[in-house]
Amino acid sequence: MSAYDIERLSRLIGMLPPAPEAWVRAAQELPGARRELETIVERAEADAAFRAALVADLESALRAEGVEPTRPLLDELRRRVAE
């Protein structure tokens, strides 16, 4: 009999519950979100009014483009528009 008795197996299965679906979906959509981010930065470089609105509210700007404003994306966008 191994150390992996039934009780231990049950407990180990229970140690990995699913992550919240929205978190997983946002991470899965990262490649598309990065492309959207590039588009937003290009528009900000070409359009001063858009850039001002963007700087004023990054989260809304991302949402308007259909991108979930996760912390890493917001940080990246903040860094890029500040350059």
């Binding site: 299965i13 519950p17 699913p18 997983v24 899965q28 890493p72």
Partner: protein, 201 residues
Amino acid sequence: METAGDDGEAAAVGAAALSSDLSDAQLVARCRTGDEGAWRLLVERFSRYVYAICVQAFRLPEPDAEDVFQEVFARVYEKLDTLRDDDAFRPWVGQLTRRCCIDRLRTGSREEPADAVPEAAADDVLGELEQAYDVHEALAALPENCQEILDRFFARDESYRTIGDALELPAGTIASRISRCLTKLRENWEETEYPARPENR
């Protein structure tokens, strides 16, 4: 990491060709070519592991855990090309998550954590999570009905009633099915972990 861009056809073919039979190394290699289907599967495969490190090993409050979770996958996406050994993806992502959790605890969280978690204690839990991941891999080799009922009951903490409704099973048969599936899991586990032992042949 390169991306497949808007090449929908290539992405669709990639996604269709994917299965859980792909090793981590194969999946990582596909991600490097910009296969977004492979990326989705990679995130799906490691999402529980990253989440568990955040909330069980380091006990991060949910808002911090969410930030770290997204940070980990953003870094994986950016740094996948720097991974030297594709077979070592799991320890790599585990270490990356551990470092992100520690950084979050040191730089201050969005919410006050319930209590500070010593790193040594977190590392003990990390060791258990490694075993839990191995057990989940063994679980994935069981018939689908067994995978689902064990996952629903133990990992999703669903009641017999919820499971019965979802799987259209009489509540009275659920306990016995869980028991049979656990026995099967243990047999499979022992065969793969201890193949040389005569009692496992």
